[in-house]
């Protein structure tokens, strides 16, 4: 066992950083779409909207109950076989679809819990001044629920960033895919993957800082 090839590692950093934007694009797009979907699911569940509620329950059950990798393969390899129009789905699209649906299922549950946790006096006050249910949700309930749900949602976002590494199994050359290729070429597996690991780690640490900043901001209304 030789010592680490530090020069190789230093040289690899800018190469791998070049693939970080794609990783962040996958996670960022996935997160935004998953949040929108999760909010819709949560509202459907809280208001118990008939039919949609049952469909949502099945959806959440499936996407929480099966591995993300299986879902990605289903979207990428499986769907085009059923629907020929979907053969145009590329790896990036399939990854975003998978991340969105997988994480929206988890996030819907934590948003739902946060919504249910908003004090009844808040919803009664909103109704008492004549708000519609929609206005009440948008202006009073969701902003308050966001504060409660934020730490968990940020955890899912962090998880999602790391989960983008599965995209390499669909042939997407993002951070993980690029590392894999570099390592296969140089046979310096340890060096290559430790550089990739550190890049993921730093990105996640920066997000933790962002989370802290957001929490302070959202707690402003609640401190004396």
């Amino acid at each position: 066992m030789g010592i680490l090839n530090v020069d190789y590692m230093l040289g690899l950093i800018p190469v791998l950083l070049g693939y970080l934007p794609l990783t962040l694009q996958l996670a960022g797009t996935g997160m935004v779409l998953a949040l929108i979907l999760a909010c819709l699911f949560a509202v459907v569940r809280v208001l118990r909207i008939p039919v949609l509620n049952q469909l949502t329950i099945v959806f959440i059950s499936f996407f929480r109950g099966t591995p993300l990798l299986v879902q990605l393969f289903l979207f990428y390899y499986g769907l085009p076989q059923l629907v020929s129009a979907l053969t145009v789905i590329d790896g990036i699209t399939a990854t975003i679809m998978g991340l969105t649906m997988h994480f929206s299922a988890y996030m819907a549950e934590s948003i739902r819990a946060a919504i249910v946790g908003v004090d009844r006096s808040q919803t009664e006050a909103a109704l008492s001044i004549g708000m519609t249910n929609g206005q009440m949700m948008r202006r009073i309930v969701l902003p308050q629920a966001t504060r409660v749900a934020l730490p968990t949602l940020m955890n899912y976002f962090i998880d999602m960033i790391k989960a983008t590494s599965l995209a390499f199994t669909l042939g997407v050359t993002e951070l993980m895919g690029a590392t894999q290729k570099e390592a296969a070429g140089s046979f310096l597996y340890f060096e290559a993957f430790i550089v990739a690991a550190v890049i993921y780690w730093i990105v996640v640490e920066m997000l933790s800082k962002l989370q802290h900043y957001l929490e302070v901001r959202l707690n402003k209304a609640y401190s004396r």
């Binding site: 009664e124 006050a125 008492s128 001044i129 004549g130 308050q144 209304a221 401190s223 004396r224």
Partner: protein, 248 residues
């Protein structure tokens, strides 16, 4: 201008309101008293449709609804004609004092921002909290929160403000400032229905005192009659008990 006819409310098998008939004039100050658990709060909550009444009809201003057949739009319209002041203040925790008051104008009445905040500032001035415009509820005392709660109700421009034990959650030191604001509103002839145990407020401010027991109106009249010449034995009994601990 407010008329309730045989208004009833049941929770399961329990009858909480048993056919309330009541008419209230514009500008009238009505105080509702009675033992706890007899439907006083439920009556106010039904008028604001925070509870769905079981039967009866309700008129506020020019809108009359059969509570059983009230559509969503009618319920919304009823709510917008009535304003509610909660025992626990129930200010929007994510909004400042100013935003709490402006919320109705912005969201329901769709006023432009500038106009809504101008009106909200006027109200803050009236309730003596102009300096608290940007304070969040968590940073205000109970008395200040309840005054904002009243300000929020004032902003609705509703035909009647319903006060559900507005001072019961307050530390004693804050009770007077809230009652003072309510007296100020009463002197401006704001129509009010007040459920309270503050007997001196009832005696000094009310045009009419209503005694409710068992979900029914037992006795009503001007405070001088109810407090000094009650007719029904239940009224006498209640007053004897409450005045012993809470003299007027």
């Amino acid at each position: 201008m407010i008329k309730l006819e045989s208004l009833s409310k049941q929770f399961g098998d329990t009858v909480v309101l048993d056919g309330i008939d009541l008419a209230i004039e514009k500008g009238e100050i009505v105080v509702i008293i009675g033992p706890s658990g007899t439907g006083k709060s439920t009556l106010l909550r039904c008028i604001n449709f925070l509870e769905q009444p079981t039967a009866g009809t309700m008129t506020v201003g020019d809108l009359t609804v059969d509570v059983n057949r009230a559509s969503r739009a009618e319920i919304l319209s009823m709510r917008r004609r009535t304003a509610f002041v909660f025992q626990n203040y129930a200010l929007f925790a994510n909004k400042t004092a100013l935003q709490n008051i402006a919320e109705r104008l912005l969201v329901v009445d769709k006023w432009p921002k500038e106009k809504a905040y101008k009106r909200a500032r006027e109200i803050l001035q009236q309730i003596g909290l102009a300096d608290k415009a940007d304070a969040y509820p968590a940073a205000m005392s109970g008395g200040q929160q309840q005054r904002v709660g009243i300000g929020r109700a004032m902003a609705t421009g509703a035909e009647v403000i319903l006060f559900d034990e507005p001072t019961s959650s307050l530390d004693p030191e804050w009770v007077e400032e809230v009652l003072g604001l309510m007296k100020q509103l009463a002197s401006e002839r704001q129509t009010m229905m007040v459920v309270t145990h503050e007997m001196s407020f009832a005696r000094d401010v009310a045009d009419r005192v209503i005694f409710i027991d068992g979900g029914r109106i037992v006795e009503q009249g001007p405070p001088s009659e109810i407090f000094y010449h009650p007719q029904d034995p239940r009224t006498k009994d209640f007053l004897k008990k409450i005045l012993a601990t809470n003299p007027v």
